[in-house]
Symmetry: C2
Subunit: 290 residues, 2 copies
């Protein structure tokens, strides 16, 4: 299977390297060509546009920042849609508003181009280690075709249903994680103010109904006050923004998601967007007695 | 060790039975004497007052409903404080405001009576099975003395520090669990409205950072719409009320805890207080498209 990868950022570049090693990678494209330097003069073609990148390959993988970038790269003037032959599969792995993914899928379907949305979790480290969790929506036959390629950098590859469902699964995940960060922040702020020992508290609650991956993975940040990421507030805010845009498209109100996003925006404004998302604890507890 | 147990409700009665079988139970007391019927005519004395129940025993265990009941039973006119000899240990296992526990502890200390607070989680089933999680605050030497007795109905018995810390651990636990219920409600409401299959979604997120005991234990309620408790909204609301009272005493604001409590009060008002706490999903999703 010939694969083209568009978007050589902190996620896309290591993914492209994994695909290169597995022998699938045929072409790459990046808006700033300098980021494709590693591939110049190799067997892999550095394309001049998404349109060129989409020609004469079986699968076009896209890893860009947000909904507008995906729309531009896929549907724009020199976009993938201009170059992809009927039967090509386009897989957008960016984390975007799934309602936008559905629109993109419809436009591509008019040209007999298959579309899958497949956002990931696991972050930069997951991309480097080839250990991403990949959540895919779209035609199940197309999913079956690309799944072996995704295993090259995916620890888990899950099929979620029609186009957009990969994105919705990612957003549901990010809602749960974001709200849980504030749950932990409130519980541990109360505990800190009451002089309850965090080690004792963690030991008392870690095996019961309050048990969670957030608690297990972030307890040391809360204990130490070291909020080196991990997963940045900046990125989590973007995901929650997309969750709220999707919710709005669906006529839904998600009050805690909205408030967590506002808290994260507030942190970005005061220059804390690069901290780990567990720093919601810093935000809540810091203002109280420090 | 001679043990007296005050409060034969849905938690206290099965706890008393476990203590009876282990040979520790000497006396019981309940405000409505009829609830002590099982013990009339046995070796176990049915006391006429908390004061009588506290005489000539090593340990007085209290399991009542809320802060005011604990204060009344322990510090009231015919209260434990009137009957307990110096050196007696009083262990309040009710779920109350830990700031009230601290006041009770100070009053008892004036009479050389030791006080421990030891709220539990695990509910009625945990009490019946002798599988409660017990979180104890107070003097560590007194904790060491009573720990073997608590193992009679406790699956885990954890020491949390000075008086009140048992209660704070319980409240921290209940804050996390309550807020997580709303996290799950928002994620799954978005998923439902987007027609994302719940089985697919659960499979995609259950091993990642969104993993939690709440998700694992409540996914079937959310899938089926059956909110048979489990742990009732009525009881969770009471715990969050105590968390907010404690937070207020400490000069803290806990916004999500407060809102979850308000949501639960709203459910109680419309007659849904007996549902499982995972029914926050029903509250959020039900109003949207049913």
């Amino acid at each position: 299977m010939k694969v083209s990868l568009i978007g050589l950022g902190i996620m896309g570049l290591p993914m492209a390297k994994h695909l290169e090693r597995s022998g699938h990678l045929t072409k790459v494209y990046n808006r700033t060509r300098a980021k494709a330097a590693d591939f110049e003069g190799t067997q892999i073609q550095v394309a001049d546009s998404p349109r060129e990148a989409a020609k004469a390959v079986d699968l076009v993988i896209i890893m860009v920042s947000d909904s507008a970038d995906s729309e531009d790269v896929i549907l724009g003037e020199n976009g993938v849609i201009q170059g992809a032959a009927p039967g090509t599969i386009v897989l957008d792995m960016s984390s975007i508003n799934p309602e936008v993914s559905k629109e993109i899928g419809q436009k591509l379907a008019e040209k007999q181009v298959e579309f899958l949305d497949g956002p990931v979790s696991g972050g930069e480290q997951g991309a480097l280690d080839g250990a991403l969790a990949i959540m895919v929506g779209g035609n199940s036959a197309s999913f079956a075709k690309v799944e072996p390629v995704l295993r090259v950098f995916g620890k888990s590859v899950t099929y979620l249903g029609p186009v957009g469902m990969g994105g919705y699964a990612k957003l549901a995940n990010q809602i749960i994680v974001g709200v849980e960060m504030q749950a932990m922040a409130e519980a541990f702020t109360l505990a800190k103010r009451a002089n309850l020992d965090f080690d004792y508290l963690y030991e008392a609650i870690r095996y019961g109904l309050a048990a969670s991956a957030v608690l297990d993975q972030k307890i040391n940040n809360v204990k130490s006050g070291d909020f080196t990421p991990g997963f940045k507030i900046n990125l989590h805010e973007k995901d929650l923004k997309n969750a709220l845009l999707a919710a709005e498209d669906l006529g839904l109100s998600l009050p805690f998601t909205e408030q967590v996003r506002d808290m994260m925006l507030e942190m970005i404004e005061v220059g804390e967007g690069e901290l780990d998302h567990s720093s919601l604890y810093k935000r809540l507890s810091g203002g109280v007695w420090d």
